[in-house]
């Protein structure tokens, strides 16, 4: 089989680019630990409260250390449960200061959902029986809409929340 000289150059260039892409993301993933969300822990979706993170009193935002927060969420069609505020009203907005590190932990009680803090890199699938977890630094100020971005039924577009970074 004969390859034209230019085709050889082109394929070398193309393959070298692909290898560079892989080196960049591979380095970030394996050395810096920025893999996409891939938490391996399982849970009984019919009894999520048995897990410490998803006890009703542990839902929502907690400050764990200076500038470090965790947010626990239970997803179900068509709602995110972020716990309740002091007036026993369901929380819909999470407020954190700029630059804080936030660990989002979420599971589903019923079907598959998504969880994306739109405009940030927090974007994960949420599946029954599995716990999804992703830590992100809130670099930029602003209001970020939380959307369920995996179809979960006919109320899918009514499943949302908000993160405010101040």
């Amino acid at each position: 089989m004969h390859l034209h000289k230019y085709e050889k150059v082109w394929l070398t260039f193309g393959m070298a680019s692909l290898i560079i892409f892989l080196l960049v993301i591979g380095f970030a993933a394996f050395w810096k630990g920025t893999h996409p969300q891939s938490h391996l822990e399982t849970i009984d979706q019919n009894n999520v409260e048995a897990h410490d993170s998803f006890k009703p009193e542990n839902l929502g935002l907690t400050e764990v250390a200076d500038g470090k927060y965790k947010v626990n969420i239970v997803a179900s069609a068509f709602n995110y449960d972020f716990g309740v505020d002091k007036d026993e009203k369901p929380v819909k907005t999470i407020r954190v200061p700029q630059g804080s590190t936030v660990l989002f932990t979420i599971t589903s009680k019923d079907v598959v959902h998504g969880f994306q803090v739109a405009g940030t890199n927090v974007n994960m699938m949420v599946e029954p029986g599995h716990i999804s977890r992703y830590e992100a630094v809130m670099k930029n100020k602003g209001e970020f809409t939380i959307v369920c971005n995996e179809y979960c039924g006919i109320g899918h577009h009514q499943m949302f929340g908000k993160v405010e970074v101040y």
Partner: protein, 47 residues
């Protein structure tokens, strides 16, 4: 058969293998690819 033999021996066969234009086109495409990818990567990093 004989014909084939001959054409293979010619060092650079016919005009048809002048592929300069092709080369420029694919390289433009290649630079677009690299540019767009790093653009997206930059956006990812900045978020």
């Amino acid at each position: 058969m004989t014909k084939k033999h001959v054409s293979n021996k010619v060092p650079t066969p016919e005009v048809s293998s002048n592929l300069k234009g092709t080369f420029i086109m694919v390289m433009i495409l290649g630079f677009l690819m690299v540019g767009a990818w790093f653009g997206a990567y930059w956006l990812f990093i900045s978020r």
